[in-house]
Structures are given as structure tokens and as C-alpha cells.
């Protein structure tokens, strides 16, 4: 009985809660209303008393231009809930703060770059292309050395899989990174969405007063291959599996070559294959996450036992005992330490790091977004929020207000 009274009191406190809610489902950059189509239909059910508005707007002419279209093309009202994916969340913030302060009563962002998208900077300043080319070079070392001669390998790879430039083609074409570059970036909206752009420096400090919630995606490793899979219409484990097989082939060539032990040429081949394997294991994801801002770095001292005798083997010439041999070894190896920058992968949805999805204040970034509640969609990447069960679960929690952090405004019985 007590619960009923509390619930009733909440209903009174929430004002006109039983009135029908407009939920404006807003797609992101280069998206369409297809993105939210299923959710817009599924949540517009009688017991929630929700009416969904889900329309397509031109998104490539900048945040403000899209916001004008959204403001003009959707109903305004203090009972409206805006749900924006990616740039859609930024656009809803723009609508509310700069166009009509009565357009929405609350905003839910889903994987939105509230403080900017670091990857947009990387695309504009050449880091992205450098990353792709660097990866290609790491991957071709093994095949090129195995068959001795880069021209030769280009002919040869046609008959082989997962070698060198083959893999680059997989990443660029099948995975859709090139499409990502061509369709999602290279327009005024990209410039607005870049971290520290003139637009973002202004917009992230908008003073927001309406209730707001941010949902962030935290995709499983390897985030970039999962994002690429979803982006190209495949299950998110597709490319991780492909890359896992490629990695196994690289490792097999590496071990096979290093087994020859005495043969320097084969050890050089092994080193080439190992560079590709290590890139797939470590460098590839850390590099991608650096582009998206999803890494933390710290300096650490790294020591290595280094051969310092160059081609001077003179001390070996007078070995009488094994101890002489060991003494000679000791003379020729020396620990050398240096300071390196260590990268640690951080949570992201594959395209946006967690901090920007939440609009967090950091030492480097001011932000006034400050959501009332945040939710983590574990295992969701930027291209799959509309299909990921985690997103649906979280929206149900919000609309049912099963979490006390959720402002009562979002309760839709």
C-alpha cells in the first residue's frame, strides 16, 4: 500500500505525466529514420502512452543546419522526450539550447559525441590515413620477406589469403573503413563535431536545465574490427574471427621460420611475420583507439638487454672454459633502459570514447552537459545501438524509472 502512495505522489509531482508523450527519435550523421524505426515502433505502445516521431533530416551541412530542420520538422512541447543517436544527440542539445527552449522536456543521448569526436580530427589531419598505411606496412613485412621482393609478393598474394596487402584490402573495403571516411566524414558536420572545433568549444558549455541522460557504448575488444563488422552489415564478431585466423597464419609462419635457429635470413622472415602478428594483437587496436581518443598514456621505464659488441667477437677467440664463454657474453650484453609512452585501451563504442559520450568534464575539457544519469550498454558499438539488446533494456529501465537516478520526467507508464 505504501508503494502505491509513493507512486501516486510521484505521479502528482511529475505534473502532466499521464499526458501523451512525443518521443523524437533522432538519427545521426548521414543516417535516416531507418536507424530508430524498430524502437520507434516498439516503444509506441498503449501502456506507455508514447507517440513516436521518427524522421530523416539532412545531416551533412553542420549541426546548426540540422538542428533548424529538426526544430521545424518535429512537434515542440515541454512533454517531449528527445532521443538522439550520435550526432542526433548533439543536434537535440542544439535545438533545445539555441533554437527553442521549450522544444523538449528531456533528452536521452545514445553514443553521442557531447564533447566532440576525436576521430573527426584524425580524419582531417592525416592521422587516419597514416594509421591505415602504417598497418599495411606492418602486415606486409612477413609476406614480403618470405617471398623476397615486394614486386613478387604483389603477384603472389592473389593466390593467397591474409597476406600483406590482401589484408589491407579487407580492412579498407570489406570492413568499410573507406566508406566510413567517404560517407560519414568530409563535410561541415565533421568539422563541427571535431574535438575543440569552434562549434564544439561553444556547444559543450551550453547551460542545460532540462533532465538529461546519456547512454554510452562499451564494446568488447577488438572494438575497431567489431565496429567494422557491424558497419558492413555483418555480425560484430565477423571481422574479429577473420583477423583471428589471419593472426594464426602469421604466427605459424613466424614459428616455422624461427625454428631454423642458425639461419639469419629465416630469422629475418620470422621477424617480419612477428611484426604483423604483434600488430594484429596489439598495435592495430591501440592505434585505432588513439585515433578515437580511447587510450590513456603514461610514461614508463622500459629496459632491454642489448648486444653491444657489434661485430667484435674477439673475446670469443680465447675461450678455454665455459666460464670464459659466459664472461664474454656478459661483456657483450648490457641492460639499456629508456622512457617509453605506454598506451592503455579505454572504454569506447569503437568510434567515440566513453568520456565524450557522457560529456564528462576532464582536466583538458570543460563541459556543462552533466547528465542526471548515465547508463552503460556493454558490448554495444557505435553502429549497433539500434539492434543491441542492451540499449532496449536501458530504455525500458529509463521509461519504467527502475533506477532512482532517472529523473521522474522520463517515466512513461
Amino acid at each position: 500500500m505504501k508503494l502505491i502512495y509513493i507512486t501516486f505522489a510521484c505521479l502528482i509531482a511529475s505534473g502532466n505525466l499521464l499526458a501523451q508523450r512525443n518521443v523524437i527519435w533522432q538519427h545521426g550523421l548521414t543516417g535516416t529514420n531507418e536507424f530508430w524505426r524498430q524502437y520507434a515502433a516498439d516503444f509506441a505502445i498503449p501502456h506507455r502512452n508514447i507517440r513516436s516521431t521518427n524522421r530523416t533530416f539532412n545531416s551533412v551541412n553542420g549541426v546548426r543546419a540540422m538542428a533548424n530542420l529538426v526544430a521545424a520538422g518535429t512537434p515542440a512541447g515541454a512533454n517531449n522526450i528527445g532521443i538522439g543517436h550520435s550526432m542526433g544527440g548533439v543536434v537535440l542539445r542544439e535545438v533545445q539550447n539555441q533554437i527553442n527552449r521549450n522544444h523538449l522536456g528531456g533528452i536521452i543521448t545514445v553514443g553521442s559525441p557531447m564533447n566532440g569526436a576525436r576521430v573527426a580530427n584524425a580524419l582531417n589531419n592525416g592521422e587516419f590515413r597514416g594509421y591505415i598505411s602504417h598497418g599495411s606496412n606492418e602486415l606486409i613485412k612477413g609476406p614480403a620477406r618470405e617471398f623476397l621482393g615486394e614486386l613478387y609478393i604483389i603477384v603472389r598474394v592473389a593466390a593467397r589469403s591474409f597476406t600483406g596487402r590482401d589484408l589491407q584490402e579487407i580492412l579498407l573495403d570489406e570492413a568499410g573503413f573507406d566508406n566510413l571516411v567517404m560517407t560519414e566524414f568530409g563535410n561541415p558536420s565533421t568539422n563541427d563535431l571535431a574535438e575543440n572545433s569552434a562549434y564544439m568549444n561553444r556547444a559543450r558549455n551550453y547551460n542545460m536545465t532540462i533532465p538529461r541522460i546519456s547512454i554510452f557504448g562499451n564494446e568488447n575488444s577488438p572494438v575497431h574490427y567489431r565496429l567494422a563488422s557491424t558497419f558492413s552489415g555483418k555480425p560484430d564478431g565477423y571481422f574479429p574471427e577473420v583477423i583471428g585466423k589471419a593472426r594464426a597464419v602469421y604466427n605459424a609462419f613466424y614459428v616455422k621460420n624461427v625454428a631454423t635457429f642458425f639461419n639469419l635470413i629465416n630469422i629475418a622472415k620470422a621477424s617480419g611475420w612477428k611484426a604483423g602478428r604483434d600488430y594484429l594483437d596489439h598495435g592495430s587496436e591501440k592505434g585505432w583507439n588513439t585515433l578515437t581518443g580511447a587510450t590513456r598514456t603514461e610514461s614508463r621505464t622500459s629496459c632491454y638487454s642489448v648486444w653491444i659488441c657489434n661485430n667484435d667477437y674477439s673475446c670469443y677467440e680465447s675461450i678455454v672454459t665455459y666460464q670464459d664463454y659466459l664472461n664474454c657474453q656478459a661483456r657483450c650484453y648490457q641492460d639499456q633502459c629508456s622512457t617509453i609512452t605506454q598506451h592503455y585501451n579505454q572504454p569506447s563504442d569503437g568510434l567515440l570514447h566513453k568520456s565524450t559520450q557522457l560529456g564528462e568534464r576532464t582536466n583538458a575539457t570543460t563541459s556543462s552537459w552533466v547528465p542526471n544519469a548515465t547508463f552503460e550498454a556493454i558490448g554495444a558499438n557505435h553502429s549497433e545501438y539500434n539492434e543491441h539488446p542492451g540499449t532496449r533494456d536501458i530504455l525500458n529501465v529509463i521509461f519504467d524509472r527502475r533506477d532512482t537516478r532517472v529523473p521522474i520526467f522520463f517515466l512513461t507508464p
Binding site: G130, N137, E241, C332
Partner: protein
């Protein structure tokens, strides 16, 4: 004074092959697949742990790509158990199993990121021109062609003490120098091209230098040079000596190479140290 001498075989004890365990699995699968019983010359097994680190010697001009060099400069460790069956004709089968590094503890790569839930390849079998990849449960998840070659023949001859370093080098047109009474330097041009025996193979002028102690049947180190003498890569070897058996056992191999990154423009040295554990050689 000459170094202490070893008669002919210096790496491991000579054992009969009769009662081998998992090794048989590898040779049987080869013979089943190839439909032939090839005579086994020896079986070699060890655990191999490697540590790799790059050091940038000269940063490139492309400063905004420095992060790629930074990431590539982080240490990488890996460990694998390796079993090799060498056949008398020089071909070889491999069984490779993933292990966790024991010697090196490196910082974790992830903080708060859900782990990869894809089933990793934990076991690889290379036999009869194909590599087979298995998951932890032993399910075959992939196979890939891998041409059979005779690359292990040289190792086999050296391990059995049948390799005459000086005679072989001279037969290949190499220059042999005596560094001392016991130590030889062998300088040999490198042919490059598709396959041994192909008319497309040419000499680039690159050459290798090997420093060996023939009496001990050990290679101390070797290096690869451009035609003008510039160093491309170098490796050196460390051995354990088992006095009771008069054996030299591979303990460690150090490899370094100088590379210019065509993207970042940096010049770096890449170093890898290979550590051998549980080294065992069984000769038929």
C-alpha cells in the same frame, strides 16, 4: 689453447624414439594425410618465449604520426610450446601451442574494456603442406595452405654434427676467414628471388657474415649487410653447457634489425630476444 672440444653432437642427449607421446600424434597425422610413411630423422621440442621492443633512433618528420612509433615501441611478450618432427628428406611437421609468458610481466593493454569473446586459436599443426588451427577445445576452426619446404634441413645437419661449416661455405662460394685458431668468419652473398633454383633469383649484393666455432659446432653470431657494408640485421646466440654430457644447449637468441618506417619516416631498431626452455632433441 683450444677450447674444450666436443666430438660431434653438442645440443642434446641422444634418445630412442620408441616411447614418445604427443609427438606421435603429429607424425601420424602427417602420414595419414600424405598417405605415406616418411622416415623420421629427429624430434625437437622446446618452449619459446620472446620479448620484442623497438627503439626509435631518429624520429620522422611527420610529428602527428609519432603515436604510431610510440605504440610500436611498447614491449611485446609471447610464449609458445613447439614440437617439431624432422623427416630425413628435410621436411618438417610442427605442433605449436599457445602459452602464457613466464619470464616477462608487461602492463595490461586494457582498462575497463570488455574482453574479446572470440574463440582464439590455441593450437596449430603444420603438416603435409597445410596448417590446421584449433581452439582450446580441440575443434578445428580453420586451415590454410602452407607449402612444404626443406628449410629445416640445414638445422638437422647441424644438430646431428654432419655439417662441415667450412666445406659447405666454400662450396657455396663463400669467403672463409680464420679469426683465430678456433673461430671462423664466413662471408656469403645472398641470392634473392622467388624460390631456390629459380632463374629469377638474383644477387642484390647483400651479404651475410657468420662467426662460428666449428669444433664446438656452435654459431656465435651472424649479420646481414647491404652491399656497401651497412648493417641490416644481426643475431647472436647464447648457450647453456651441460658439462656432464658435454652438450651445448640453445638458451637464447638475440635478433636486431634496422628499419626505416616508410609512413612515419622514423628510423628504428627492432630487438627480439628468444628464450628457450625445456629444450629436447631426440634423434632417430
Amino acid at each position: 689453447m683450444k677450447p674444450f672440444r666436443i666430438k660431434y653432437l653438442h645440443f642434446a642427449g641422444v634418445l630412442l624414439l620408441g616411447a614418445c607421446s604427443s609427438d606421435n600424434d603429429l607424425s601420424e597425422s602427417h602420414n595419414q594425410l600424405s598417405g605415406q610413411n616418411k622416415p623420421i630423422a629427429m624430434k625437437l621440442s622446446y618452449e619459446l618465449e620472446s620479448l620484442t621492443q623497438r627503439e626509435v633512433l631518429d624520429p620522422g618528420e611527420n610529428a602527428n604520426l609519432a603515436f604510431l612509433d610510440e605504440i610500436a615501441s611498447e614491449q611485446v611478450a609471447s610464449r609458445q610450446a613447439v614440437e617439431i618432427i624432422l623427416y630425413e628428406d628435410g621436411r618438417a611437421d610442427f605442433l605449436i601451442e599457445k602459452r602464457s609468458p613466464k619470464l616477462f610481466s608487461l602492463p595490461p593493454s586494457f582498462e575497463g574494456v570488455p574482453p574479446d569473446d572470440t574463440a582464439p586459436v590455441t593450437k596449430t599443426k603444420i603438416t603435409n603442406g597445410t596448417a590446421f588451427f584449433y581452439d582450446e577445445q580441440g575443434n578445428l576452426i580453420y586451415q590454410h595452405p602452407m607449402e612444404e619446404d626443406f628449410a629445416m634441413r640445414g638445422l638437422m645437419l647441424r644438430l646431428t654434427g654432419q655439417y662441415d661449416w667450412e666445406a659447405e661455405a666454400k662450396a657455396e662460394g663463400a669467403i672463409v676467414e680464420n679469426l683465430s685458431e678456433t673461430t671462423l668468419l664466413i662471408r656469403k652473398l645472398v641470392d634473392e628471388g622467388p624460390n631456390e633454383g629459380s632463374a629469377l633469383r638474383v644477387s642484390s649484393g647483400r651479404y651475410t657474415e657468420e662467426v662460428i666455432v666449428p669444433d664446438l659446432n656452435i654459431l656465435l653470431g651472424s649479420s646481414l649487410h647491404e652491399a656497401n657494408g651497412d648493417l641490416i640485421s644481426r643475431m647472436t646466440h647464447k648457450y647453456d653447457y651441460r658439462e656432464d654430457k658435454d652438450e651445448w644447449i640453445p638458451k637464447q637468441m638475440y635478433y636486431e634489425e634496422y628499419v626505416t618506417d616508410q609512413v612515419t619516416g622514423s628510423r628504428y631498431i627492432s630487438r627480439t630476444t628468444y628464450h628457450y626452455d625445456n629444450y629436447s632433441l631426440k634423434i632417430n
